[in-house]
Amino acid sequence: MKKLINKPEDVVIEELKGIEYAHPDLVKIHYDPNFITRADAPVKNKVAILSGGGSGHEPMHGGFVGMGMLDAACPGAVFTSPTPDQMLEATKAVNGGKGVLHIVKNYTGDIMNFEMAADLARAEGIEVEAVVTNDDVAVQDSLYTAGRRGVGITVIAEKMCGAAAEQKRSLKEVADICRKVNGWGRSMGMALTSCTVPHAGKPTFDLPEDEMEIGIGIHGEPGRTRMKLKSADEVTAMLMEPIINDLPYKAGDNVLLFVNGMGGTPLVELYIIYRKAYEIATKAGLKVARNLVGPYITSLEMAGCSITMLKLDDDLTKLWDEPVKTPGLRWGV
């Protein structure tokens, strides 16, 4: 294992310290239990948005804390869900009196920990609603598995819910935006290499030099198939086809097209993928009205990418365009 770390057990805490030094104008770091809040939290009379998950997916979620996006993020150990005490303290710290929305990616551990946290917060009189994201079309057999995983759509949902909350919409309205974004979004990822969890010390899975995994999850969960490496255009088609074939797109729709890097793939390659994805979407009659290209929901140093597509209406488009000011996403300010 070759990593720029000191000790595996100090990875998360030293990362938090770095964020604290880098972005004191945007965020505040809380320790023991660990969580990140907006520097100006709690914002009175605004629904607060909280998310969280294992570390190793940066900038998600901590990098999306700030005006127009998340009020708080709870980082777990690398690839491990955070714990209910973190979520409870973060919920209390950002509650501005209008309730707190928990955005939870669909993983067994995340679901259970967030359920426990929501129970505890409600017992303390805080109104909490939780919405689960599950946009990964790579998981086909949802009935006999833990269900589709929450991946790229989570970034977009956090942005749009954050904007809706800034407009002083109610908890139910903001939660409805989250459900709509999740329902209208689909994703699929792929990997060229594995990644190494610091405390595991060796790659999560073996992937031979000339092979790739199509349908990979953001923790290196296996996907649909493993095959010999193909060209960027062929790979893009393999990701786009299941996305477009899954509901709910139809010709004439406006879409947001998001090409995400898994951590180890350079922007030059992501733009090659975006180019082909744009052409495939256009050919299918979809109008790419908004886009995002870059590493936003990563899997440590894994090489690979994922594509997320979201059907847009006027409201979602406006929510996307609203100002956002976070360490990881910033425009309009």
Binding site: M112, N113, Y144, A146, G217, E221
Partner: protein, 210 residues
């Protein structure tokens, strides 16, 4: 059969030692079908639980179990935190105010713990989870208690049923947790949660054998 408060404390300590010893083994099982964190997570959680043990060592068994459960919920993360946390918290509720446990008490505690795990994780027998080790262990324990078996025999039967249940997860296709994303590819691997659950009951038998 009598399990004293000291026996309970010895069990928790022994399990902490066993988890530390098997940390890499559990992580290795988890990297085959999960996300390679089970060993490290459990080790972090039990180190924290052991550090808190002295502060509750003079309390009743229920309080000790609840302290362990709360600590695990706060320190393990992943699925293991809520599941093992719930296991000990429910066992704590079932043993509230008790300073020692009879065979029936231990059986009732294990039953409450397992029910809590099933309610939290919604896994059924055969889903390739810790439930597959705990369920046969509980059934064997209940039968042994009903047969009037002595303490060693009760523990031996439940541990050996847990071991069999753990081994029986090998051919199963996972239907819960991250392993379920593998589908058929999850078959042929032993479930890490069933393994840590077997080790938990084995540690009890090792410490409580007369």
């Amino acid at each position: 059969m009598t399990i004293t408060r000291d026996d309970v404390i010895n069990w928790i300590n022994e399990y902490g030692r066993v988890i530390a010893e098997n940390k890499d083994y559990l992580t290795q099982l988890d990297s085959a079908i999960g996300d390679a964190d089970h060993g490290a997570n459990m080790d972090r959680g039990f180190k924290a639980a052991l550090a808190k043990l002295p502060s509750v060592a003079d309390k009743d068994i229920g309080t000790i179990f609840k302290s362990v459960g709360m600590t695990l919920v706060q320190t393990v993360g992943g699925a293991g935190g809520p599941l093992y946390g719930t296991f000990f918290m429910q066992a704590g509720t079932a043993t509230a105010n008790k300073m020692e446990l009879t065979a029936a008490d231990w059986s009732a505690a294990l039953e409450a713990a397992l029910s809590g795990v099933v309610a939290r994780g919604k896994a059924q027998l055969g889903d390739k989870t810790m439930v597959d080790a705990l369920t046969p262990a509980l059934n064997a324990l209940k039968q042994a208690v009903a047969d009037g078996a002595d303490q060693n025999e009760c523990l031996r039967r439940s541990t050996s049923a847990a071991e069999q249940g753990m081994k029986d997860t090998i051919p199963l296709v996972a239907r819960k947790g991250r392993a379920s994303y593998l589908g058929e590819r999850s078959a042929g691997h032993q479930d890490p949660g069933a393994t840590s659950s077997f080790l938990l009951l084995k540690a009890a038998a090792d410490m409580w054998a007369k």
